[in-house]
Protein backbone atom coordinates (compact mmCIF):
# COMPACT_ATOMS: atom_id res chain seq x y z
CA UNK A 1 0.00 0.00 0.00
CA UNK A 2 1.39 3.38 -0.98
CA UNK A 3 2.21 5.78 1.81
CA UNK A 4 2.14 8.86 -0.40
CA UNK A 5 -1.64 9.27 -0.65
CA UNK A 6 -2.32 9.07 3.09
CA UNK A 7 0.67 11.33 3.79
CA UNK A 8 -0.59 13.90 1.28
CA UNK A 9 -4.05 13.83 2.85
CA UNK A 10 -2.69 14.19 6.36
CA UNK A 11 -0.32 17.00 5.40
CA UNK A 12 -2.73 19.17 3.37
CA UNK A 13 -3.59 21.40 6.35
CA UNK A 14 0.12 22.07 6.80
CA UNK A 15 0.24 23.19 3.17
CA UNK A 16 -2.38 25.82 3.89
CA UNK A 17 -0.32 27.02 6.82
CA UNK A 18 3.20 26.76 5.42
CA UNK A 19 2.64 28.35 2.03
CA UNK A 20 1.29 31.69 3.32
CA UNK A 21 3.76 31.73 6.22
CA UNK A 22 6.66 30.85 3.93
CA UNK A 23 5.53 33.58 1.55
CA UNK A 24 5.47 36.08 4.40
CA UNK A 25 9.05 35.09 5.17
CA UNK A 26 10.06 35.35 1.50
CA UNK A 27 8.59 38.85 1.19
CA UNK A 28 10.40 40.11 4.30
CA UNK A 29 13.58 38.41 3.14
CA UNK A 30 13.38 40.05 -0.26
CA UNK A 31 13.28 43.45 1.45
CA UNK A 32 16.83 42.78 2.66
CA UNK A 33 18.00 43.00 -0.94
CA UNK A 34 19.37 39.49 -1.45
CA UNK A 35 18.57 37.43 -4.57
CA UNK A 36 15.41 35.33 -4.26
CA UNK A 37 17.15 31.94 -4.35
CA UNK A 38 18.70 32.55 -0.94
CA UNK A 39 15.17 32.35 0.50
CA UNK A 40 14.81 28.95 -1.19
CA UNK A 41 18.17 27.94 0.26
CA UNK A 42 17.05 28.88 3.78
CA UNK A 43 13.85 26.86 3.42
CA UNK A 44 15.88 23.90 2.17
CA UNK A 45 18.66 23.97 4.75
CA UNK A 46 17.62 25.89 7.86
CA UNK A 47 13.96 24.77 7.64
CA UNK A 48 12.74 26.31 10.88
CA UNK A 49 9.92 28.82 10.66
CA UNK A 50 10.43 30.95 13.75
CA UNK A 51 14.23 30.90 13.39
CA UNK A 52 14.01 32.10 9.78
CA UNK A 53 11.84 35.04 10.79
CA UNK A 54 14.35 35.80 13.53
CA UNK A 55 17.15 35.61 10.94
CA UNK A 56 15.67 38.56 9.08
CA UNK A 57 16.30 40.78 12.09
CA UNK A 58 19.78 39.32 12.64
CA UNK A 59 20.74 39.73 8.97
CA UNK A 60 19.57 43.33 8.77
CA UNK A 61 21.55 44.11 11.95
CA UNK A 62 24.59 42.24 10.50
CA UNK A 63 24.73 40.19 13.70
CA UNK A 64 27.85 38.19 14.48
CA UNK A 65 27.89 34.45 13.81
CA UNK A 66 28.13 33.57 17.50
CA UNK A 67 25.02 35.60 18.21
CA UNK A 68 23.28 33.82 15.30
CA UNK A 69 24.26 30.43 16.71
CA UNK A 70 23.21 31.21 20.28
CA UNK A 71 19.84 32.70 19.34
CA UNK A 72 19.05 29.80 17.00
CA UNK A 73 19.92 27.27 19.70
CA UNK A 74 17.79 29.11 22.26
CA UNK A 75 14.81 29.43 19.93
CA UNK A 76 14.84 25.80 18.80
CA UNK A 77 15.83 24.06 22.02
CA UNK A 78 12.25 22.87 22.57
CA UNK A 79 12.92 20.37 19.76
CA UNK A 80 15.08 18.37 22.18
CA UNK A 81 11.86 17.29 23.89
CA UNK A 82 10.28 16.29 20.61
CA UNK A 83 13.11 13.84 19.97
CA UNK A 84 12.81 12.36 23.47
CA UNK A 85 9.30 11.17 22.71
CA UNK A 86 10.11 9.86 19.23
CA UNK A 87 12.98 7.51 20.09
CA UNK A 88 10.98 4.33 19.53
CA UNK A 89 9.01 5.63 16.53
CA UNK A 90 12.07 6.62 14.53
CA UNK A 91 13.38 3.10 14.22
CA UNK A 92 14.88 3.39 10.72
CA UNK A 93 18.57 4.04 10.09
CA UNK A 94 21.02 5.94 7.92
CA UNK A 95 20.11 8.83 5.67
CA UNK A 96 16.38 8.30 6.14
CA UNK A 97 16.67 8.72 9.89
CA UNK A 98 18.93 11.76 9.49
CA UNK A 99 16.35 13.37 7.23
CA UNK A 100 13.50 12.62 9.67
CA UNK A 101 15.50 14.27 12.44
CA UNK A 102 16.48 17.22 10.24
CA UNK A 103 12.86 17.88 9.26
CA UNK A 104 11.32 17.69 12.73
CA UNK A 105 9.22 20.86 12.92
CA UNK A 106 6.28 21.46 15.29
CA UNK A 107 3.81 20.58 12.56
CA UNK A 108 5.70 17.47 11.40
CA UNK A 109 5.90 16.26 15.01
CA UNK A 110 2.15 16.82 15.40
CA UNK A 111 1.28 14.80 12.30
CA UNK A 112 3.70 11.97 13.07
CA UNK A 113 2.40 11.51 16.61
CA UNK A 114 -1.23 12.23 15.76
CA UNK A 115 -2.09 10.51 12.49
CA UNK A 116 -1.96 6.74 11.92
CA UNK A 117 0.43 5.25 9.35
CA UNK A 118 -1.45 3.30 6.62
CA UNK A 119 0.35 0.06 7.50
CA UNK A 120 2.46 -0.75 10.51
CA UNK A 121 5.39 -2.17 8.54
CA UNK A 122 5.83 1.03 6.54
CA UNK A 123 5.73 3.55 9.37
CA UNK A 124 9.15 5.01 8.59
CA UNK A 125 8.23 5.60 4.95
CA UNK A 126 5.01 7.30 6.01
CA UNK A 127 6.93 9.57 8.38
CA UNK A 128 9.44 10.36 5.63
CA UNK A 129 6.67 11.23 3.17
CA UNK A 130 5.04 13.55 5.74
CA UNK A 131 8.37 15.24 6.49
CA UNK A 132 9.26 15.73 2.84
CA UNK A 133 5.80 17.02 1.87
CA UNK A 134 5.78 19.51 4.72
CA UNK A 135 9.23 20.75 3.78
CA UNK A 136 8.26 21.09 0.13
CA UNK A 137 5.30 23.33 1.09
CA UNK A 138 7.62 25.50 3.14
CA UNK A 139 10.26 25.75 0.39
CA UNK A 140 7.59 26.61 -2.20
CA UNK A 141 6.20 29.29 0.12
CA UNK A 142 9.61 30.87 0.83
CA UNK A 143 10.46 30.88 -2.88
CA UNK A 144 7.13 32.31 -4.05
CA UNK A 145 7.26 35.06 -1.46
CA UNK A 146 10.78 36.11 -2.42
CA UNK A 147 10.15 35.83 -6.18
CA UNK A 148 6.81 37.54 -6.38
CA UNK A 149 7.27 39.85 -3.43
CA UNK A 150 4.52 42.38 -3.20
CA UNK A 151 3.09 41.62 -6.63
CA UNK A 152 0.70 39.01 -5.26
CA UNK A 153 -2.88 40.08 -5.13
CA UNK A 154 -4.49 37.01 -3.59
CA UNK A 155 -5.54 37.80 -0.05
CA UNK A 156 -4.12 35.06 2.17
CA UNK A 157 -4.91 36.86 5.43
CA UNK A 158 -6.10 34.34 7.97
CA UNK A 159 -5.07 31.28 5.98
CA UNK A 160 -2.45 30.37 8.56
CA UNK A 161 -5.29 29.64 10.97
CA UNK A 162 -5.04 26.20 9.29
CA UNK A 163 -2.17 25.44 11.67
CA UNK A 164 -4.20 26.39 14.75
CA UNK A 165 -7.07 24.26 13.46
CA UNK A 166 -4.65 21.40 12.79
CA UNK A 167 -3.36 21.53 16.36
CA UNK A 168 -6.95 21.59 17.70
CA UNK A 169 -7.94 18.56 15.62
CA UNK A 170 -4.82 16.63 16.61
CA UNK A 171 -5.49 17.52 20.24
CA UNK A 172 -8.86 15.76 19.98
CA UNK A 173 -7.18 12.83 18.23
CA UNK A 174 -4.65 12.61 21.08
CA UNK A 175 -7.56 12.46 23.51
CA UNK A 176 -9.08 9.53 21.60
CA UNK A 177 -5.71 7.79 21.78
CA UNK A 178 -4.61 8.45 25.34
CA UNK A 179 -7.90 8.75 27.28
CA UNK A 180 -6.17 10.00 30.38
CA UNK A 181 -6.61 13.61 31.49
CA UNK A 182 -3.27 14.00 33.27
CA UNK A 183 -0.98 15.07 30.37
CA UNK A 184 -3.61 17.46 29.01
CA UNK A 185 -4.27 19.14 32.35
CA UNK A 186 -0.58 19.31 33.17
CA UNK A 187 0.24 20.93 29.84
CA UNK A 188 -2.71 23.32 30.08
CA UNK A 189 -1.46 24.58 33.47
CA UNK A 190 2.15 24.88 32.25
CA UNK A 191 1.06 26.51 28.99
CA UNK A 192 -1.24 29.12 30.50
CA UNK A 193 1.20 29.81 33.33
CA UNK A 194 4.14 30.30 30.97
CA UNK A 195 2.02 32.45 28.65
CA UNK A 196 1.07 34.79 31.48
CA UNK A 197 4.46 34.91 33.21
CA UNK A 198 7.04 34.56 30.42
CA UNK A 199 5.38 35.24 27.10
CA UNK A 200 8.66 35.33 25.14
CA UNK A 201 9.85 31.87 26.13
CA UNK A 202 6.40 30.30 26.47
CA UNK A 203 6.95 27.25 24.23
CA UNK A 204 10.30 26.19 25.61
CA UNK A 205 9.37 26.71 29.28
CA UNK A 206 5.99 25.02 29.19
CA UNK A 207 7.23 22.04 27.16
CA UNK A 208 10.31 21.58 29.35
CA UNK A 209 8.29 21.81 32.57
CA UNK A 210 5.65 19.36 31.29
CA UNK A 211 8.28 16.81 30.29
CA UNK A 212 10.07 17.14 33.64
CA UNK A 213 6.79 16.53 35.52
CA UNK A 214 6.03 13.57 33.24
CA UNK A 215 9.46 12.09 34.01
CA UNK A 216 8.91 12.51 37.76
CA UNK A 217 5.50 10.94 37.51
CA UNK A 218 6.86 8.03 35.50
CA UNK A 219 9.53 7.40 38.14
CA UNK A 220 6.97 7.57 40.96
CA UNK A 221 4.58 5.16 39.27
CA UNK A 222 7.35 2.67 38.43
CA UNK A 223 6.84 3.25 34.70
CA UNK A 224 3.52 1.48 34.37
CA UNK A 225 2.13 2.11 30.92
Amino acid sequence: MSVFGPALRASLPVMFGYIPLGMAFGMLFQDLGYPWYFATLMGLFVYAGAAQFMAIGLLSAQAGLVEVAVSTLALNSRHIFFGLSLMSRYSCRGVQKLYLIFGLTDETYSLITGTPAPSSDRESDYYTAITALNQSYWVVGCTLGALLGRMIDFDTRGMDFALTALFLVLLIEQWHKVREPFPFLLAACCGVGALVLFKEQMLLLSIALSVVVLIVRCQLSGARL
Binding site: V68, G83, L104, M159, P183, I215, A223
Partner: protein, 110 residues
Amino acid sequence: MNDHTYLLLVILVMTAATFFTRATPFMLLHKRADHPLLLFLGRFTPPAIMTILVIYSLGSVEFSRYPYGGPELLAALLTLAVHLLWRQALLSIFAGTACYMYAVQSGLFI
Protein backbone atom coordinates in the same frame (compact mmCIF):
# COMPACT_ATOMS: atom_id res chain seq x y z
CA MET B 1 33.52 40.00 4.19
CA ASN B 2 31.47 39.83 1.02
CA ASP B 3 27.76 40.18 1.72
CA HIS B 4 26.79 36.90 0.08
CA THR B 5 29.54 35.08 1.98
CA TYR B 6 28.13 36.49 5.20
CA LEU B 7 24.62 35.30 4.32
CA LEU B 8 25.90 31.84 3.41
CA LEU B 9 27.77 31.62 6.72
CA VAL B 10 24.62 32.66 8.61
CA ILE B 11 22.66 29.96 6.76
CA LEU B 12 25.35 27.40 7.57
CA VAL B 13 25.43 28.30 11.27
CA MET B 14 21.62 28.28 11.56
CA THR B 15 21.38 24.95 9.75
CA ALA B 16 23.91 23.38 12.11
CA ALA B 17 22.32 24.88 15.25
CA THR B 18 18.80 23.80 14.25
CA PHE B 19 19.90 20.29 13.36
CA PHE B 20 21.81 20.07 16.63
CA THR B 21 18.70 20.81 18.71
CA ARG B 22 16.69 18.24 16.78
CA ALA B 23 19.39 15.54 16.87
CA THR B 24 20.63 15.80 20.48
CA PRO B 25 18.31 13.21 22.07
CA PHE B 26 18.93 10.75 19.24
CA MET B 27 22.70 11.13 19.60
CA LEU B 28 22.66 10.72 23.38
CA LEU B 29 20.04 8.01 23.82
CA HIS B 30 20.02 5.95 20.63
CA LYS B 31 20.97 2.75 22.46
CA ARG B 32 18.11 3.05 24.95
CA ALA B 33 15.15 3.67 22.65
CA ASP B 34 13.09 0.98 24.41
CA HIS B 35 13.78 2.21 27.95
CA PRO B 36 10.46 2.30 29.88
CA LEU B 37 10.86 6.01 30.61
CA LEU B 38 11.25 6.84 26.91
CA LEU B 39 8.23 4.68 26.06
CA PHE B 40 6.27 6.53 28.75
CA LEU B 41 7.35 9.88 27.29
CA GLY B 42 6.53 8.63 23.79
CA ARG B 43 2.96 8.08 24.93
CA PHE B 44 2.33 11.11 27.12
CA THR B 45 4.47 13.89 25.62
CA PRO B 46 2.47 14.23 22.35
CA PRO B 47 -0.84 15.07 24.11
CA ALA B 48 1.01 17.57 26.33
CA ILE B 49 2.74 19.23 23.37
CA MET B 50 -0.48 19.38 21.36
CA THR B 51 -2.20 21.14 24.28
CA ILE B 52 0.67 23.63 24.50
CA LEU B 53 0.70 24.30 20.74
CA VAL B 54 -3.01 25.09 20.84
CA ILE B 55 -2.51 27.51 23.73
CA TYR B 56 0.51 29.03 22.01
CA SER B 57 -1.20 29.59 18.70
CA LEU B 58 -4.18 31.25 20.40
CA GLY B 59 -1.94 33.04 22.92
CA SER B 60 -1.19 36.09 20.78
CA VAL B 61 -4.90 36.89 20.46
CA GLU B 62 -5.91 40.19 22.09
CA PHE B 63 -8.88 39.16 24.26
CA SER B 64 -9.19 42.45 26.14
CA ARG B 65 -9.80 44.68 23.11
CA TYR B 66 -12.42 44.62 20.37
CA PRO B 67 -13.15 42.20 18.71
CA TYR B 68 -12.18 40.30 21.90
CA GLY B 69 -10.76 37.33 20.01
CA GLY B 70 -14.12 36.84 18.29
CA PRO B 71 -12.82 35.53 14.94
CA GLU B 72 -10.41 33.13 16.66
CA LEU B 73 -12.99 31.79 19.14
CA LEU B 74 -15.65 31.43 16.45
CA ALA B 75 -13.30 29.57 14.10
CA ALA B 76 -11.87 27.39 16.88
CA LEU B 77 -15.35 26.41 18.11
CA LEU B 78 -16.46 25.61 14.55
CA THR B 79 -13.35 23.45 14.04
CA LEU B 80 -14.06 21.58 17.28
CA ALA B 81 -17.76 21.15 16.55
CA VAL B 82 -17.21 19.85 13.01
CA HIS B 83 -14.52 17.50 14.24
CA LEU B 84 -16.60 16.13 17.10
CA LEU B 85 -19.52 15.59 14.70
CA TRP B 86 -17.77 13.96 11.74
CA ARG B 87 -14.19 13.34 12.84
CA GLN B 88 -12.85 14.11 9.37
CA ALA B 89 -9.66 16.08 10.02
CA LEU B 90 -9.52 17.82 6.64
CA LEU B 91 -13.17 18.85 6.77
CA SER B 92 -12.83 20.29 10.28
CA ILE B 93 -9.66 22.22 9.41
CA PHE B 94 -11.06 23.63 6.16
CA ALA B 95 -14.28 24.68 7.87
CA GLY B 96 -12.40 26.48 10.65
CA THR B 97 -9.90 28.12 8.31
CA ALA B 98 -12.53 29.27 5.82
CA CYS B 99 -14.58 30.70 8.68
CA TYR B 100 -11.55 32.54 10.05
CA MET B 101 -10.47 33.91 6.65
CA TYR B 102 -14.00 35.16 6.05
CA ALA B 103 -14.16 36.73 9.49
CA VAL B 104 -10.90 38.66 9.14
CA GLN B 105 -11.26 39.60 5.47
CA SER B 106 -14.91 40.50 5.23
CA GLY B 107 -14.79 43.22 7.86
CA LEU B 108 -17.35 41.31 9.90
CA PHE B 109 -15.53 42.31 13.07
CA ILE B 110 -14.59 45.91 12.32
